[in-house]
Symmetry: D2
Subunit: 144 residues, 4 copies
């Protein structure tokens, strides 16, 4: 697992940004934001990002499932400082997509997250429809 | 992110195994064990595995930090069924190591987890000492 | 908030008992099982207890909502030791019931929990039906 | 457990107010903010309130332990709406104090929380010192 490329640590690459408070329960016995808690912060940002894309899976009778999550922890994060998470679309497949995200605290990138989401309907995997694809294209990771 | 190799889904490859109850709070709105909750289940198994290795970072004035976590979600997991997690050492570096783990429910592999741990002391990264290295060698992933 | 009566700390008073593993994420910065984490352990035991009562709200198109939770923390609890939770029915109302629970670690009562559950249907509160009432009567707190 | 008095539901009674985002993981299978998650939101507000009081237990070599938490759930709360928590001091004892808190969403009180905190030092319970007592007096619940 190679370290994330330097451009993954630049907030301007991410078209969607969400700032969230940390919580006391994010801390673990080591006194920093726990790695699992950080995964939960990325998840909440991702849900906001999906809402921003304007498509809700329930509206179409499909389910969006998390196929994989890969987090690189670069710096220790702390409570009660806020975390700002940038989100973007990295790849759009036939029935899945990859989200690139990065979390920042006090101006520094503390973690990156790559997440693959797949879409399932009653008859198995479902193709990403045109409206969702258009919304995703408009929220691509800015390769620069 | 390629799918895990088929041998990663075989419980016998993992020298250390821990079975844990799921909790109601592991469920999310979709009615399955949430992906972040599963990361927490892997974390608890990992802590048990580290204790099994017989070295405690506090005893030596060092900290073990999570550098990266990569989870592949293969099947939906459910409450209240138990989860059995297999853990193993995949790579041993100079100041870090990689843990391969896999979670099983009702005999099926529901997720795999690759985790990189680094060791830090007051003066920065610390070398993995001989006693820990020996314990890790005895708990290698069984390549078969 | 008066301390719980001494008989609340006796495991034999509770007709239903469930033992669960603690998790690393239960710990907080103080190194003990966090009070909110303990509330989550009580919740999981309560869900098991409700299943044991043999009635599932979904089967009847109703929802069971938590109206109140009152936890008294008596001793610090620790990871990785297991927690055993005893559950019982304390009061049965027209549309609600009270569960008395207590959590034990290494033979000592670490916390008690009083929880009021209410039952709601599409038209508002729903009366506790006969089958559920009978199951609850059989799982009363043993007043001794 | 009687319902909270009507004045407990008025935000102006609480001298300290903190607004926080909800998270996706706050939701449970019923689609609302889970009762344990709400206890965690109260906890974070309480930690902010304690910081606002200007005394940190670590500075004095003491521990503040949660002796009891009593939450009344009045309305279902939802994601992604924010929660505003009001905090106040209700009682000041010799070695403990009671915090009255209430959580509001979209202008409505969704839950109240009474919490007893005790202070412990190496030799057992510790008396609330004068500086802390003065800070607490300035943050009393406004009886009106």
């Amino acid at each position: 697992m190679a370290k994330p490329a330097p451009w993954r640590l630049e907030i301007d690459r991410y078209p969607f940004v969400k700032t969230m408070a940390t919580r006391f329960r994010d801390l673990d016995i080591m006194g920093h934001v726990n790695n699992v808690a950080m995964a939960g912060i990325f998840e909440t940002a991702r849900v906001h990002f999906h809402r921003h894309l304007g498509r809700h899976p329930q509206d179409q009778g499909v389910r969006w499932l998390i196929a994989s999550v890969h987090v690189e922890y670069l710096q220790e994060a702390h409570f009660p400082d806020e975390v700002t998470v940038g989100c973007s679309i990295a790849k759009i497949g036939n029935t899945s997509w990859t989200i690139y995200a990065a979390a920042f605290q006090n101006g520094e990138c503390v973690a990156t997250c790559d997440c693959v989401v797949v879409t399932h309907g009653p008859g198995g995997r479902r193709v990403v429809d045109g409206a969702l694809r258009t919304a995703m294209e408009a929220n691509r990771f800015r390769e620069g």
